[in-house]
């Protein structure tokens, strides 16, 4: 059984807003200067920035949760998602830009975790920006070396009967973890199932509530 003390719920879709209440920092000023130069020089346009920003805002772990929930109820969709995650996303109206997107399935024998030790590779067009923990040096350093201890910090205990596979996404492939469907969810709708799958679940740092591992 697992505890989810550090679990993070879906990002709410907050409206994109100007930071009028934030003080202008050197970093922001430098970026605004850069933006101004690039626009003046015709390298990019303000409209293009706006459009890309809106596209990026669509990324959210809820997109992956919807796909996984469907995979839980529809074995054919699950097979398609495992075979070609980008195409399976597109079936549900989800556009992704990653060159290679792979779904890794948790099983009773094996739990999966994803990290990018060298930088912060993450399937952003699907999931949005990664959590702060994912890009932290502590996670990047420790997830490969002591995954069980790291998971305990997330309130997740993987029993000895279950192996852990850590995936370091150091090349062109981006990974999404498909958690196992918890018992006792037979009557749930796809929407209710999707609500069980949090952002931390799809990198392998949380388990949906009610997940039972081993005896």
């Amino acid at each position: 059984m697992t505890g989810d003390t550090h679990d993070h719920a879906h990002d709410d879709h907050r409206p994109i807003r100007e930071d009028d209440d934030e003080l202008l920092t050197e970093g922001e000023a430098r970026f605004l200067a850069l933006k101004g130069l690039l626009i003046d020089q015709g390298v990019i346009s303000a409209d293009e920035i706006r459009a890309r920003l809106e596209f990026n805002e669509r990324g959210s772990s809820h997109q992956a949760a919807r796909m996984i929930a469907r995979a839980w109820v529809d074995p054919d969709y699950k097979a398609r998602m495992l075979a070609d995650t980008k195409a399976a996303a597109l079936e549900m109206g989800i556009e992704t830009t990653e060159a290679k997107l792979v779904t890794i399935e948790n099983t009773p024998e094996r739990h999966n975790m994803v990290v990018c030790t060298l930088c912060s590779c993450y399937p952003r067009s699907l999931l949005g920006e990664p959590p702060a923990f994912y890009v932290s040096k502590a996670y990047r350093s420790r997830a490969v070396r002591e995954p069980r201890k790291v998971l305990r910090e997330f309130g997740v205990e993987i029993p000895e009967q279950v192996d852990i596979a850590v995936h370091d996404s150091n090349a062109d492939f981006r990974y999404v973890v498909m958690p196992m469907r918890p018992a006792g969810t037979d009557r749930m709708s796809e929407e209710e199932l999707a609500a069980l799958i949090t952002r931390d679940c799809v990198v392998g740092c949380a388990l949906p509530p009610g997940t039972e591992l081993a005896d």
């Binding site: 930071d19 934030e22 605004l32 130069l37 890309r52 702060a132």
Partner: protein, 105 residues
């Protein structure tokens, strides 16, 4: 043995994992969008950006923030490629800070 890259930290000792999330500021979102556009337009390559970050001095890398590195990396790469002029950027940055407002940009 060649020195390890500053980014090559898999397996290094480290402390507790920070769990607190920070909302992206609007300018940070714009910066990511700008970076994505530069990649899509093939003005910069992701591999070049990573290399620039790896070239940052070790002290800087250790003490930098994620978004700070992004911005500094993009700026350095664009200057390296001659897409923007370092002095022009500095002048414009000072002007924006002096004006103290983001209205005009």
């Amino acid at each position: 043995m060649t020195d390890k890259l500053t980014t090559d930290i898999g397996g290094d000792p480290a402390g507790p994992i920070p769990m607190e999330d920070h909302d992206q500021l609007f300018w940070e979102k714009q910066m990511i969008a700008t970076f994505n556009l530069l990649q899509t337009k093939k003005i910069v390559a992701t591999d070049e950006f990573r290399r620039v970050v790896e070239e940052m001095p070790a002290d800087y890398y250790k003490n930098s923030t994620f978004y700070g590195r992004r911005l500094d990396g993009i700026v350095r790469l664009l200057i390296e490629k001659g897409v923007i002029d370092a002095d022009a950027l500095e002048k414009r940055t000072r002007a924006i800070l002096a004006a103290g407002t983001r209205d005009h940009v």
